[in-house]
C-alpha cells in the first residue's frame, strides 16, 4: 500500500551528541541561575571561585556553551552524530540570530571605526543579513547551532579574557545612564544561557520536530521559571520585611478582651500592630487599626452599592432585554468602565460627588467611587453566571407553567449565585487594594488616632436629609492609603518603627487582606467548578 520507508517506532540509544548537548544544557542552566544570583546581589560580583572572579567564570561557561553547540551542530552535519534535522532552522530563528549578529557587527564597528551612525549601521546590517542567511540556509543542525555558538563563544571570551569585568562601563551617547559590566554581563548571560539551553535541548533530541519541542519547552520553561521566581520573590520580600513589624509586641495571652454585655475580661491574644491606633500620644506600638476599619467600611459600602445595581442590571440584560443594540452598548460600556483607570474615577468623584455629598474627603464618597469601580465587575460576572445557567432549567420551569420572574428568582439566581459571589470576592480584592481614587476623595490624616465610628454616628433630625452620619462624611484611612501616606510622610513620629518598617508592616497586612480575598475568590471558584463537574 505504502512504499514510504517508515521510521522505527522506537527510539535510538544515547550518543556522544546527546552527551555534549547534555553538558551544554547543564552549563546553561547553572550559568542562568548564577547570573540571577549576581543580578539579585545575593552573590557579590567581586566574589571568586577558586581564585577566578564570578564574571569571568560566567564568561567561561558561555564559551563552553558556544563551543559545545558548534560541536554538536557540525558533528551532526558531518554525520558523526545521530540526528534527524529538518532542512532549515526556520525564519524566526534566522531573525533572532540575524539580530544578534547585527548587534555584534554594530559593536565591532563602533570599536574599530567610531560611533557615527553612517559607519556602524552598514556594518551592522551586513552582519545581520549574514547571520540571518547563515542560520536559515544550512540544514537545521548547523543553522541553529553554529551562528549562535560563535556569538556565544565570542561574547564569553571577551568576558572571560577580554577585560569586560565588573568595573568596565558603557555609556552610550543616547542615554543618561551608565551601564557597568557588573550588571550588563549578568543580564547578557541570562539571555545567552536562555539561547544556549534552547540550542542544547534541541540538539539533545536530535533536532527535527522533537528537537524543536525540547528547545521550545526549555526556553518557555526557563522564562516562566524566572517569572514565577521574581513574583514569588516580591511576595517573599514583603513578608520577610513586614513580618517583624507586624509581630512587634504580640503575645498569645498578653492582651485581654472585655466580653460585651457581661463586662468580663478574659485573656486574649495581643496583636498591637493590628489592634492599635496609628497616631496619638498614648500609643506605644503604632498599629493599623484605623486603616483596617476604614478598609472594611469602604468595602462594605462599595459592595452594598454595587452588588444590587450590578445584579439587577445583569438580570435585566440577560433575562428581560432582547439581545440587540442596547445590550451590546451596555456590554461595551461595562467592559470599558471596568478597564477605566481608577484615577479617572477619583477625578470624577472629586468633581461630582464630593461637593454634593460631603464637601470634603469622606468615607461615603470613597465607598461610592469604589462602588462605581466594582459595579462593572459585578455586572460582568453576574451576567456570565446567569448566561451559564443552562436553558434547560428555564425551559423546565416554563414547562411547569411558572412565570418568568418566579423562574428567575427561584431557579436562575440561585444557580448563578456561585459565579457571582466569586466575581464579587475577586472584585472586592481589587478595590480593597485600590489607592489612587482614595487620594482624591477619601484620605485624611496619615497617622489617625481613632477609627471611624460609623455605627455610633447616626443622627436623626426633622430637617432634610433627616439622617446624618458624621463619621461617614469624614475622611479616614484605609490600608492602601495608609501605605501611601507612610511613603509620602517620609518620617514616622514614633521611635518604635522607622517609617520604612511601618510601611513594610502595612504592606504585609494589605497583602494579606487583598491576596486573602483573592484566595477565597479563586478557591471558591475552584470549589464550585469542581462541585458542578462532579454532579
Amino acid at each position: 500500500m505504502s512504499n514510504v520507508t517508515r521510521n522505527r517506532l522506537t527510539g535510538a540509544d544515547s550518543t556522544t551528541g546527546e552527551l555534549v548537548s547534555q553538558v551544554v544544557l547543564g552549563t546553561s542552566v547553572l550559568a542562568f541561575v548564577a547570573a540571577w544570583l549576581l543580578l539579585l546581589q545575593w552573590v557579590d560580583e567581586t566574589a571568586t571561585l577558586a581564585g577566578v572572579p564570578a564574571l569571568q567564570l560566567l564568561g567561561g561557561a558561555v564559551v563552553l556553551i558556544g563551543a559545545g553547540l558548534t560541536f554538536v551542530g557540525v558533528g551532526s552535519r558531518l554525520g558523526y552524530l545521530d540526528a534527524t534535522p529538518s532542512s532549515t532552522a526556520g525564519v524566526p530563528v534566522g531573525f533572532v540570530f540575524g539580530l544578534l549578529w547585527a548587534i555584534l557587527g554594530g559593536i565591532a564597528a563602533t570599536l574599530v571605526l567610531g560611533d557615527a551612525l553612517s559607519l556602524w549601521l552598514p556594518v551592522a546590517t551586513v552582519f545581520g543579513v549574514g547571520g540571518f542567511l547563515g542560520s536559515v540556509l544550512p540544514r537545521e543542525d548547523v543553522g541553529s547551532t553554529v551562528p549562535l555558538g560563535t556569538i556565544l563563544a565570542l561574547f564569553g571570551a571577551s568576558v572571560a579574557f577580554g577585560g569586560i569585568d565588573a568595573n568596565w562601563t558603557w555609556s552610550p551617547s543616547w542615554s543618561a545612564a551608565v551601564f557597568p559590566g557588573s550588571e550588563l554581563v549578568p543580564v547578557a548571560v541570562v539571555f545567552a544561557t536562555l539561547l544556549g539551553a534552547w540550542g542544547g535541548a534541541k540538539a539533545k533530541l536530535g533536532f527535527g520536530a522533537e528537537g524543536r519541542q525540547a528547545g521550545a519547552y526549555y526556553l518557555v520553561g526557563s522564562v516562566v521559571f524566572a517569572m514565577l521566581g521574581v513574583l514569588a520573590l516580591l511576595v517573599a520580600f514583603i513578608v520577610t520585611n513586614g513580618l517583624e513589624t507586624v509581630l512587634t509586641g504580640t503575645s498569645l495571652t498578653g492582651g485581654h478582651l472585655t466580653l460585651p454585655f457581661v463586662g468580663l475580661q478574659v485573656p486574649w491574644a495581643e496583636f498591637p500592630f493590628l489592634l492599635n491606633q496609628t497616631g496619638g500620644l498614648f500609643v506605644e506600638i503604632p498599629g493599623v487599626l484605623p486603616a483596617v476599619i476604614g478598609t472594611l467600611w469602604l468595602v462594605f459600602g462599595a459592595v452594598l452599592f454595587a452588588v444590587p445595581l450590578g445584579v439587577g442590571a445583569a438580570v435585566f440584560l440577560t433575562e428581560y432585554a432582547e439581545r440587540g443594540r442596547f445590550t451590546q452598548v451596555v456590554e461595551v460600556a461595562t467592559n470599558g468602565l471596568w478597564s477605566t483607570p481608577s484615577i479617572v474615577f477619583g477625578l470624577f468623584g472629586l468633581a461630582f460627588l464630593v461637593p454634593r455629598i460631603s464637601g470634603g474627603n469622606s468615607i461615603f464618597v470613597g465607598q461610592l467611587v469604589l462602588g462605581f469601580m466594582l459595579l462593572p465587575l459585578v455586572l460582568i460576572t453576574c451576567r456570565e453566571a446567569i448566561l451559564a445557567v443552562p436553558d434547560k432549567h428555564r425551559d423546565a420551569s416554563a414547562a411547569l407553567g411558572v412565570t418568568k420572574w418566579q423562574t428567575i428568582r427561584s431557579v436562575v439566581l440561585p444557580a448563578a449565585m456561585p459565579g457571582t459571589i466569586t466575581g464579587i470576592i475577586l472584585g472586592v480584592g481589587r478595590i480593597a487594594g485600590e489607592t489612587a481614587p482614595l487620594l482624591l476623595v477619601f484620605g485624611g490624616s496619615p497617622y489617625p488616632s481613632s477609627s471611624p465610628n460609623v455605627i455610633g454616628s447616626f443622627e436623626f433630625g426633622i430637617e432634610p436629609p433627616f439622617v446624618t452620619n458624621e463619621a461617614l462624611l469624614s475622611p479616614a484611612s484605609a490600608l492602601p492609603y495608609q501605605l501611601y501616606s507612610t511613603i509620602t510622610a517620609g518620617v514616622f513620629p514614633k521611635e518604635v518603627f522607622t517609617n520604612t518598617e511601618f510601611g513594610w508592616g502595612t504592606a504585609l497586612v494589605l497583602l494579606l487582606v487583598v491576596v486573602g480575598l483573592y484566595a477565597i475568590g479563586v478557591g471558591s471558584r475552584l470549589y464550585f467548578r469542581r462541585k458542578l463537574h462532579h454532579e
Partner: protein, 377 residues
C-alpha cells in the same frame, strides 16, 4: 462607487423608513404593555420612574431635598413589591441597568464638560504643544499634555515589552506544557499575584528598584521611566498570563486531539494549531494588560520624578523626566483649580478614550475568536 452614491442618496428615505418602523414597533410595544399590565402596576411604574428622575435631578442640583424622592421611591417600591412583584422586579432591574449606564454617561459627560475650558483656552495645543513652557501657571496658564502622553506611552511600551512575551510564554506554559500537578498550583498562584495592590509594587519600586538603578546605573534621578515601566510590566504580567491562558484553554480539546492524532508533536500542535486558534484571545489578554499598564497610577506616582518634558533622545528611558497622565492627576489633583484642573480633566479624557479604544478593540477581537471557534459547531 455608484453604488455608494446610490446608497447615500437613499439614506434619508431609508432613515425615514427606519424611524417609521421604530415608531410602529414602539407603539406596538406600548399597546402590549398596556394590555398586559394591570392599572396598579402601571401606576407603580410611573411613580417609581418619576421618583427616580426627581432624585437624580435634585442630586445633580446638589439639593438636600434629594432625600424626599428617595423616600417616595422606597415607599412606592415597597408597596409595588408586595402587590405586583413581577412588574416591580422588572422595573427595578431596568432601573439598575439605567443607573449603570448613567454612571458611565455621567463620567464621560463630566470629563468632557470639565475639560472644555482648557481646550477653549489653549486649543489643540493641549495635545500637540512640544516647546517649553509645557506646564506652568505663568503666561495665563500653559498646560500641554504632550509630555505626559509621551511618558504614558514610554512606560506602557516598556511594560508591554516585559509583560507580553513573558506573559504569553507563561500562558503557553500553564495551559499546554505544565503537567497537571504543576498547573494546579501555578495557575491559582498567578491569579493571586494579579491581586497584589499596585501601591505595594510602588513601595517596592521606590525602595528597591529606583535605588538599584540610581546606584548601579548612575541614573540622573532616583526614579526613571525604565524602572517604573519595568515595575508596571511585572505588575501586568499576571493579568496577561491569566487572560491568555483562558484563551488558549478555550481552544477546543477536539482540535488539539485532532492535531496530536495526526502525529504532530505537542509543541507543533501548540504553535501551529492552538496559538493561532487562540490568538485573538491572547491578544485580548495583552490588550487588557496594556490597559492596566496605561491606567496604572500608584506605582508610577511614587516612583516617577514628576518633572515634565521630553528626554533627548525621546527614547532615553533613563532621563530625568518622569510624568504620566495618571501620575499628574494623582499628584496635582488635590491643589488644582481653574484651567489647571481643567487640564487634568483633559488628561482624564485622553486616558479614558485610549482605554476605551483598547477595551473595544479587545472585545472585538474576542468576539472574532468566538465567531471563529463557534463556527465550528
Amino acid at each position: 462607487m455608484t453604488q455608494i452614491l446610490q446608497q447615500t442618496r437613499d439614506a434619508p428615505s431609508r432613515l425615514r423608513a427606519y424611524a417609521a418602523g421604530r415608531l410602529v414597533a414602539t407603539r406596538q410595544r406600548a399597546r402590549d404593555y398596556r394590555s398586559r399590565t394591570t392599572d396598579g402596576a402601571i401606576a407603580m411604574h410611573a411613580l417609581v420612574f418619576a421618583s427616580v428622575v426627581a432624585t437624580f435631578l435634585l442630586f445633580l442640583a446638589g439639593s438636600e431635598w434629594t432625600v424626599l424622592p428617595v423616600i417616595a421611591f422606597v415607599a412606592t417600591f415597597a408597596v409595588g413589591w408586595s402587590r405586583y412583584q413581577a412588574e416591580a422586579a422588572k422595573a427595578l432591574t431596568f432601573l439598575t441597568t439605567v443607573a449603570t449606564v448613567s454612571i458611565l454617561s455621567l463620567i464621560i459627560a463630566f470629563l468632557l464638560v470639565r475639560s472644555e475650558p482648557i481646550v477653549r483656552h489653549m486649543g489643540l495645543d493641549v495635545l500637540t504643544r512640544i516647546e517649553q513652557p509645557l506646564w506652568t501657571s505663568n503666561q495665563g496658564g500653559v498646560y500641554a499634555l504632550t509630555p505626559m502622553m509621551a511618558g504614558t506611552a514610554v512606560t506602557t511600551v516598556i511594560a508591554t515589552l516585559v509583560a507580553a512575551p513573558i506573559g504569553i510564554a507563561g500562558a503557553v506554559f500553564v495551559s499546554e506544557i505544565a503537567p497537571r500537578r504543576v498547573r494546579e498550583v501555578v495557575k491559582p498562584g498567578i491569579e493571586l499575584m494579579a491581586g497584589i495592590p499596585s501601591i505595594t509594587y510602588g513601595f517596592i519600586g521606590l525602595t528597591i528598584v529606583n535605588q538599584y538603578f540610581y546606584v548601579e546605573f548612575g541614573t540622573p534621578t532616583i526614579g526613571t521611566y525604565f524602572a517604573a515601566g519595568l515595575m508596571i510590566g511585572i505588575m501586568a504580567l499576571p493579568t496577561v498570563v491569566t487572560v491568555s491562558e483562558d484563551a488558549l484553554n478555550a481552544v477546543p480539546e477536539s482540535v488539539k486531539s485532532g492535531a496530536l492524532a495526526m502525529g504532530s508533536t505537542k509543541w507543533q500542535t501548540t504553535k501551529s494549531v492552538t496559538i493561532p486558534a487562540g490568538l485573538s484571545g491572547v491578544s485580548a489578554g495583552v490588550l487588557l494588560g496594556v490597559g492596566r499598564a496605561l491606567g496604572e497610577t500608584m506605582a508610577a506616582t511614587v516612583m516617577l520624578t514628576h518633572t515634565k518634558g521630553f528626554p533627548s533622545p525621546v527614547f532615553d528611558v533613563f532621563s530625568n523626566y518622569g510624568e504620566t497622565l495618571t501620575t499628574v492627576i494623582a499628584f496635582e489633583g488635590g491643589n488644582a483649580s481653574g484651567i489647571h484642573m481643567s487640564a487634568l480633566f483633559a488628561g482624564g479624557v485622553v486616558l479614558f478614550v485610549t482605554v476605551m479604544l483598547l477595551s473595544v478593540t479587545s472585545q472585538y477581537v474576542e468576539w472574532r475568536m468566538y465567531q471563529k471557534l463557534g463556527g465550528e459547531r
